[in-house]
């Protein structure tokens, strides 16, 4: 049983197990802190900087990313100081300059009183939260996609900007993207993710397309069970 600590968030006393992040503790207590790059299934990343809060430990007050900072006894957290809001406003304006269409971003902007971005808009879609890459690495375990470049030229990329050899076409990256910029469609037994095609497997029993062949091959490889074992859909098992 983890040790419990007491923290104060916006004046409210909250008890949370040691090792919880401020964001987790706040969310559990129904205190809203905007965030885009954090995900329960993934290790904290701290990239979007929307979740910044002000903390006071002893005498010092400073801003930290609530998705990474762990609660400690006696910690005082303020989620909405002007300083905090200014950071959030800058972040959302900067993100809107990359994607001023998606409702998720527009909602956060609206909450912060930001009507539009003052920066020139260059539609890129992706907000570089990294959830797709991190999911592929930490949850799926194949690291088919990654980052390329650095700084403003940073992009989500497939190796050499070509069909990713390690992709199992599971679509996790598509599902996890908060702004839904990874396209996926299925037609005539082919699943297309980004611009790459992955043939689907027909169920041995019912004949329906149900999973990408590459995904089943991957399961077969990691479990050491024969491929045939996986070629039946969930409904027919």
């Amino acid at each position: 049983m983890a040790e419990m600590v007491t923290v104060t968030i916006d004046g409210l006393k909250i008890h949370a197990p040691a090792g919880t992040t401020i964001l987790e503790a706040a969310t559990d207590a129904n205190i809203y802190i905007p965030h885009l790059c954090s995900n329960e299934e993934l290790a904290p990343y701290g990239a979007c900087r929307l979740c910044m809060v002000e903390i006071t430990q002893g005498e010092r007050a400073r801003l930290v990313a609530s998705c990474i900072f762990e609660v400690a006894d006696g910690l005082e957290v303020k989620t909405n100081t002007e300083q905090v809001l200014d950071v959030r406003r800058l972040v959302i304006e900067l993100l809107l300059a990359r994607n001023n269409k998606h409702p998720v971003l527009l909602k956060i902007a609206d909450e912060l009183g930001v009507k539009e971005t003052r920066f020139p808009v260059e539609q890129k879609g992706c907000i570089l939260c990294g959830q797709c890459v991190r999911t592929c690495r930490e949850v799926v375990g194949v690291s088919a996609i990654g980052f390329s470049g650095r700084g403003i030229t940073r992009k989500i990329a497939t190796p050499f900007m070509e069909a990713p050899p390690d992709c199992i076409a599971c679509g996790s990256c598509v599902y996890v993207c908060p702004v839904q910029v990874i396209p996926m469609k299925e037609k005539n037994g082919i699943r297309t993710i980004m611009k790459y095609d992955y043939p689907m497997q027909k169920c041995r029993k019912c004949g329906q397309y149900f999973a990408p062949k590459k995904q089943l091959e991957y399961f077969s490889k990691i479990t050491n069970l024969p491929l045939e074992h996986f070629e039946t859909c969930v409904n027919c098992r």
Partner: protein, 617 residues
Amino acid sequence: MKKVKTAQELKSLQEEIKNSRDSEKPCITICAGTGCLTHGSQKLVDNFKAEIEKQNLKGKVEIRASGCHGFCERGPLVVINPQNIFYQRVGLDDAEEIIRETVLNEQIIDRLLYIDPVTQEKILHENEIPFYKRQMRLVFGMNGNIDPNSLEDYLSIGGYSALIKVLNGMEPEAVIEEIKTAGLRGRGGGGFSMGLKWEATRKAPGLPKYIICNADEGDPGAYMDRSLLEGNPYSILEGMLIGAYAIGSDTGYIYVRNEYPLAVKNITIAVGKARELGILGKDILGSGFNFDVVIVRGGGAFVCGEETALISSIEGRSGEPRAKYVFPSERGLHNKPTNINNVETWANVPLIINKGAEWYRSIGTENSKGTKIFALVGKINNTGLVEVPMGITLREIVYDIGGGIPKGRKFKAVQVGGPSGGCIPESHLDLPVDFDALSKVGSMMGSGGMIVMDDRTCMVDVALYFLKFLEEESCGKCTPCREGIYQMRLILERITQGKGKEEDIETIEWMGKAIIDGSLCGLGKTAPNPVLTTLRYFRDEYESHIKEKRCPAGVCKALITYTIDPELCTGCTVCAKICPVEAATGEKKEVHTIDQDKCIKCGACFESCKFDAVKVS
């Protein structure tokens, strides 16, 4: 050299080497630091060696290629001992004359002496030259006395005495106390107490513990660490050995910037020789203490100078920093307690152990003890590396040591702290060099880059320069830094092109604060500093660019025009010949003109006109 197994054996070896050296024997030291190498000093070294052979003087006259002596402006530098004669701007073919005249005939070659620009006096000895006189070269001064590839040279000047003292009866905690008391603060820019860092790493639970030497000197215009690593790699090893002992670490990493092949070469040789001698490896000097070093090269990323990004790099990943809510001293490399310090900081350690914390405290100011090495560059007469006691004023550095601004131009500002620092105007020139004093005016000590600017430097252009640099070097992980610096750069670019808007200054100030508050690591957190300090002290320049579409310093291309003064033009046609777009035209012996529609502001005509007829407005 035979392996030494005890402190006593090392001491005896030191004595033996010292005694075998004849201080009366002629010794010619040629500076082979990077600056002088660029002047061609390697050829000079080879010429000296060839002459010695030719004149059968081998064994009678020593030739030593040393690391950087600091006075880069006057290279190639040669020092002749035992007379301690200092020759500057030595010609590559002067070897024969120097040997014949100065070494054999004890004659001074006047034309190679430094002439004091004020008194016109010829100066014989290094320490009498104004550039050197005001310095306190405790750490850097050793460079001139050793060949960086010679362990014997280092031992002959007392090298490894500090290690002997420590392993011969100082408890690790006592070593830490000594460093804490001395007040040595990080020389890489952070300025954090080395002693406290060591203590935290020692106390942190977990094994193994690592120590790292950060030699990823990325500040453009700073090359102190390079010269230390190239010129005296053993001093850094000694510092690391002592630190590792104090902390309880058995593995050290030296992370050297990819762009420093000579530094990598010299530290690799030094490590090899130290292993041979037995002061790296197992059971060093019979104390039971084990320590060895791994040399790693950077991949060409400024952000890897940030300690958590450096650690990522060593772990085989891209240089993405991590939030420092938990310090590396607790969880660093491979999640183990790790202590990282800068090259210069490590190099100060043997000094403190040898001479004591009290002695060290006698140098510097209340909160900034010891000396600091600066790379004094830019619009300055005496470009080079200088080591000064903390507390000396910027004015003394710029004028007394630096010799003031060349071509009679006026001082405008000095940038301290590189891309993370800020510019300091004339009104603050009497500021003491001190961690806290510099922070108070919006700048910071930084790693030691000190760039002097004159009235022909546009401060908006300087701010833009740093933003472009940081934009390229940002790792790209967090939004405020990646996007914020980019957008700020776009705004500044517009301003330098005469497309600035009224609200731009306010926007920059607002952005700057939010980027400082919101960024993940030190790169982002300090990125706005150059912009904010230039705004603070040179707001009028920004306003000129925005409101009047004018660049007072005559730098921003879009806002300047090159014209030919008809009174001064002699019709020599040089500008017409060199103009890449045929904008400068004219008949021979007749006044030339520049077609503004064609002119691309490349500056070639301005540079080539010998009559000062090309004007920039």
